[in-house]
Symmetry: C2
Amino acid sequence: MVVSGNQAFKALADPTRREILRLLRQGEMKAGDLAAHFDMTKPSMSHHFAVLREADLIVSRRDGQQIWYALNTTVAQDLIAWLMDVLGDAKQRRGGKNK
Amino acid sequence: MVVSGNQAFKALADPTRREILRLLRQGEMKAGDLAAHFDMTKPSMSHHFAVLREADLIVSRRDGQQIWYALNTTVAQDLIAWLMDVLGDAKQRRGGKNK
DNA sequence: CATAGAGTTAGACAATCGTCTAATTAAATG
DNA sequence: CATTTAATTAGACGATTGTCTAACTCTATG
């Protein structure tokens, strides 16, 4: 885990934040457009963006009045590597050992 | 996500629980032997086992006085599928789209 | 430069979480 | 059956989390 393993896992623990990541699969989006997908105030959404950014799961850039968010795949790759390592092929390994 | 997506993600948010999963990679272990790896009371460890079991990330069986825990790979596979879907190949996808 | 719009920051508050000690359950054994 | 050992359950408590309203920053524009 390169940088923020624990923060990244904690960030993923909230369903709103996972949905934000899902929306960003298709490319970057403005903060306001993201927020429009949720039944929640803008400050609450802003908080979720901050948590995701501090976990390095997203990156942001300002363009005039608006802020664009996009997935940061670097930490994402680390998370997947951790999960695959710990949980991914355990079945095969156990099969080989305990059969 | 088959059953307990949110619970599974929340279970992964704690470093002690992730370490428990890591230890279980090599096969099932007794509750006491797992607990011995941590600087924490047994009731606290028992709580973490319960969270992991409710998230379907581990399974347990009693053998006399002792309880054995093992990884449950079913939900683990779902988690990995989710992560790969949302975060896994975003770089390639964005590259193809926004280049 | 006054106003409006997009977004964040500050601070409060209830709910959830992680840990502890004390009590309890369940199995083994003299 | 009394005691010991392995583990969980119950309940308390401080820390963290997710949400809200109010206030603020920053940019655009008349």
